[in-house]
Symmetry: C2
Subunit: 356 residues, 2 copies
């Protein structure tokens, strides 16, 4: 039940992947701890430079000889609307003042820089012989896919709908993560609109498993052996867990982020564009509630992300959780503080028990 | 795995409940077919009069000697805003004209009539010795609960959040249906707002099962043995299936409704208030798309429901699916046309296979 061709391909003991949470959570120590405990550790490389990525890959390799992976954000085209930026800045200035952020000009991302950095990250993954690479917010080009195949990199796409899963299989990727509406952090949708992509995991797994031939990895709200078993019964070959790993002792998440998850209640999480310009699920706070009123005027990703960066940073620095992005899935209330080893062992023991 | 104290209490062979879909779908023949095949048939009594309910209960009893149930809508207070009704009527008149509906004054529901009819329905359920009664849109009063207990009626509440499930257990009900965000038809939320109640089923089951001691029934997008097994693994004692039963040969759903479900694609369903004033999930059509632009101005349930009744009826009569409420869950694309017997047997066979 728990090992299959896919876990063999990934060279892992258990069908558990640690979600590649970007933004400092997936430290080398944390990723290596996951790998050393029979699950798949993933570096969330979305916001780091190619140079930083190379350093981290080398660090992870020193800490584990097991298989691990890297996740990349696929950059897209985006418009820079001076008008929207001005409105956003006007709204954000009160937070900058409140948090005593020294006014400095925000460096806006450019489409060209985004693509260049992404292509360099890909080069790093290949040069450093990373065995597994997953993608969010889109799919690589056919050219890039050919490169990965040449170098025997196992590739994994992220889908929120059946249509996205089909496009991932067509490209020749080796597996697909299906992200249910329950999932914490950014929505991975890249075809159609956001609303269409809010499909519950128990619905998304069988729909995708019926259509594609590549292995399906279930993601969204999975916190324990029950979630693992439910996913496998629904047609998944493995699960990807984010929030459950985030509160582990080894994770690099900010203590306030962990604390917010541990104290979260039913209904605490919400979908918001306020932090990054892209829909993401997190624990409700002042920033989400106040800025949420202007959801329609907020610039798209990655512009809004750049505009709010200093606010999120200062808020974390000042131990104020009201202006931080506290990403979490809908099952946050089931989170525990434990070591990675304890988490993996617990999930597997629970799953064996459910399995009878 | 498939029978337990709860299936024994309900006196059913399989842990499957047919969702009490209101509006003509749950004909006596259909409900009895479900009961005669080892699952629990439910009369959706939300929109029928106490007299009609008594007739139907007697019909079902003639067709089956097995256990069956009735579902009641718990009426709530609502405001009648002349202004909102006028705006709604202005928007709806173009559809009335298009469908050649003779202008007649719509009889608006009143809070008093709603409560009176509900109390009479309860009296019918008790007098006719219906063994099981479930509730949607709220919970009965403590007084009503005492009555049910005296007459040994098994009571089941419907929850969309942990808080709602707790309130159902506190009232002394025997079980709770947890309705995931995937579910077709009306959202059953009755505490807090609609957004909070959109919790994916795989998240909602374990959260509720951890907190309440009464049996949890999983609902939302369950179409086959995989969904049944995933629900049981997650902590449910049974499942409630709507869309899967709706397309059965015996169901009283309009042929166009069945056809729309059979032809539905990924992303076809949407949440809308346009038909009834209460959020519900159905297959997208012209009415939802056009009226959706005025979502904020639409009167609350049951006012909007009364205002759109003639439109839905005429649309069905004229074989035009664009102005009918085509309720369906997110897994609609997995629906099949088969008999109730075939559906129940298939689900159980699939579940046994998944279970190994």
């Amino acid at each position: 039940m728990f090992t299959n061709n896919f876990t063999n391909l990934l060279k892992i003991d258990f069908p558990i992947i640690q979600a590649p949470m970007a933004g400092g959570i997936t430290t080398s120590k944390f990723v290596a701890a996951v790998c050393n405990n029979g699950a798949l550790g993933m570096i969330g490389a979305g916001y780091i430079s190619p140079i930083q990525l190379r350093e981290q890959i080398r660090e992870v390799k020193e800490l584990t000889s097991n298989s691990f992976g890297v996740n990349l954000f696929v950059p897209g085209e985006f418009e820079i609307s001076e008008n929207k930026i001005e409105i956003a800045n006007r709204l954000l200035n009160r937070y900058r003042e409140q948090l005593n952020i020294q006014e400095e000009k925000v460096t806006l991302p450019s489409v060209e820089d985004g693509f260049q950095s992404y292509m360099q990250q890909i080069q790093v993954v290949i040069e450093e012989k990373v065995p597994i690479c997953s993608f969010t917010f889109g799919v690589p080009t056919a050219d890039v896919m050919r490169k990965f195949k040449q170098h025997n990199v196992t590739t994994i796409g992220t889908a929120t709908t059946v249509a996205e899963a089909i496009s991932i299989e067509k490209l020749g990727m080796d597996a697909v993560v299906v992200q249910g509406s329950e999932a914490g952090g950014h929505r991975g949708n890249f075809i159609g609109d956001h609303e269409e992509s809010l499909i519950g995991l128990m619905t998304l797994i069988p729909q995708v498993a019926d259509i594609v031939n590549i292995p399906v990895i279930a993601a969204g709200g999975i916190m324990d052996g029950r979630g693992l078993m439910a996913s496998l019964c629904s047609g998944a070959k493995a699960v990807q867990m984010g929030t459950a790993f985030l509160t582990c002792e080894e994770s690099g998440a900010h203590p306030l982020h962990k604390e917010a998850i541990m104290h979260s209640k039913d209904g605490d999480t919400t979908l918001t564009r306020t932090f990054s310009g892209k829909w993401a699920r997190g624990i409700n706070n002042k920033f989400i509630m106040e800025m949420g009123e202007y959801e329609d005027t907020i610039p798209n990703f990655p512009i809004q992300n750049a505009l709010t960066q200093s606010i999120r940073k200062a808020s974390a620095h000042q131990n104020n959780k009201e202006y931080m992005s506290l990403w979490a899935g809908q099952n946050a209330k089931l989170a525990r503080v434990e070591t990675v080893e304890q988490l993996v062992q617990r999930v597997m023991n629970e799953a064996r028990k459910v399995n009878g």
